[in-house]
Subunit: 312 residues, 2 copies
């Protein structure tokens, strides 16, 4: 029996008024909300690189993550998720079960965030599983959070906690979409990025895009309990703080806001969105990163994290 | 040295007023044209399945095709191409040269069709090349060509010629975007599909979506010269017509139009868009396909073409 992954996916999607033409045609036709911009992002995950299928990594979690990393990008733009299209290359062997699992994970997270599945492309081959999800969101004109708007004097704020994601939660990603939309309505945010490759590396990218530098307060970095567990493992040789600064796959938000806005966000966020936000440093003139230690001394900080290698 | 494929791609894209935020942020922000729908389609191509890199198949043609197959989907919706995002998995070995070639092919075709590159995702691995392109287009409300609008009495028209694409042109795809947009402005089209998997198979899909049947006139099918060459190869055992009906990867348009519109299109198309269109049959009540032979006899026709196998 044959399974067309995308046909199976589309058959399970409830009708959505945002689609002018039902899924299954040559392309999807979306009704964009008048007066809003269209936000687009794509991510590809590959078996053996981004995940290794097994008891700890069922296809459902891979499907979830493939959508989640894109939703995290939308959150970093303060964009509302609208629709997704999915392209997959399923291995011939076990492709059926794999496809069903992917579907479950995608549909589960799509429902949580009001995403409609608009179409896709199913392929199969003798190679490993590859899944590419493109997500479309919307945002009012001029209101997308950008990377290049941080200003000296801003404070840097991070959602949740960082580090140790590989231990458990790097697959069960919770994108900060609800938080981002609530904050965008109530706060002035100068710049934003999501933590995909490592807190210090992604802060460095935010600063580079803005033409500014950051001083991170090392005593303020919110450390995930999993970072503590990983640091305690024999042979790890890194501190929980090291993990928080460099592990990545946290999919938390880093925001640069004026000081009074940052402080108000930290005070109001737990009741407003149920997620803690923490001030982790400040934006200053210059370039690069510095770190302030517990004794108040400031020293350059080398950004660390996952650097994609595209070798020759 | 590292090459970030997507960064390299974006650096070569001229600034485009359709992008509110320059490429390189967490996601792209597009300014949709007011009052138009957003059309989205995705296709993934895999090395060893959709192409085999070599002297006859340089990376440039793979890049071109990855975009072209999506543009062909937009053409089949009468949608104007606007923007694309690209996700790739480059093999570690030769990934640099491969990436540059892909870029050349994508940018070349994008320029031909007014497509801006809005973003992407670069990955590398020990596996084969995988490229997934998502294209975004636009169309006035209610004006997208659908598969489900063919009506008994309509005539079926195909652009160009079919068959033998594997011999040479399945990589150097020329999507029928210009033709589609010109036709959409001047003609009443009831339904449309592009020929990706085989003329008879794709006509059958069009008929199935419309709840109608088709009678194809076998003497009228426009046959590409490459189909004749392939049929003459030792051991081929198929006629040029067989190739035209089943080969696929022609990326021609099949349209269902009222008879007077179809005849006018066939008469005007060569001067209007420089591409011949041919009446190949008619839409009738019922289901499935039939074929009318030279002697006027009509017999059922089994749709043939490339059927994707998603086996368990």
């Amino acid at each position: 029996m044959e399974l067309d992954f995308v046909a199976g996916l589309l058959a399970r999607i409830p009708p959505d008024p945002r689609l002018e033409v039902p899924p299954g045609d040559d392309a999807a036709v979306l009704r964009p909300t008048a007066g809003r911009r269209t936000v687009v992002t794509v991510d590809m995950l590959m078996e053996g690189v981004d995940f290794i299928l097994g008891p700890d990594c069922p296809p459902r979690l891979v499907g979830r993550k493939a959508l989640a990393v894109n939703l995290s990008d939308l959150a970093a733009m303060a964009a509302r998720p609208e629709a997704a299209v999915v392209a997959v290359s399923l291995p011939h062997r076990h492709g059926d079960a794999l496809g069903r699992g992917l579907l479950d994970g995608i549909l589960e997270l799509a429902a949580e965030h009001g995403v409609t599945l608009a179409g896709g492309d199913t392929n199969s081959w003798d190679g490993p599983l590859v899944i590419s999800v493109t997500v479309i969101g919307s945002v009012p004109p001029g209101r997308a959070w950008r990377r290049d708007g941080a200003m000296p004097g801003d404070l840097l704020v991070v959602s949740g906690t960082c580090g140790g994601s590989l231990l458990a939660r790097h697959l069960a990603v919770t994108p900060r979409c609800h938080e981002a939309l609530a904050i965008a309505e109530r706060f002035t945010v100068h710049a934003a990025i999501d933590v995909s490759d490592g807190l210090s590396l992604d802060v460095a990218r935010l600063m580079q895009a803005s033409g500014t530098a950051a001083v991170l307060d090392l005593t303020a970095i919110p450390i995930h309990p999993d970072a503590v567990v990983m640091a305690a493992q024999p042979g790890d040789g890194r501190s929980p703080l090291d993990h928080a600064l460099a592990d990545g796959e946290d999919f938390e938000l880093v925001l640069a806001l004026p000081p009074e806005e940052a402080r108000r966000l930290v005070a109001e966020a737990p009741t407003m969105v149920g997620t803690p936000f923490t001030i982790i440093g400040e934006v200053v003139s210059g370039s690069g990163l510095a770190a302030r230690a517990a004794d108040g001394t400031v020293a350059p900080l080398e950004p660390r994290g996952y650097i994609h290698d595209f070798g020759a």
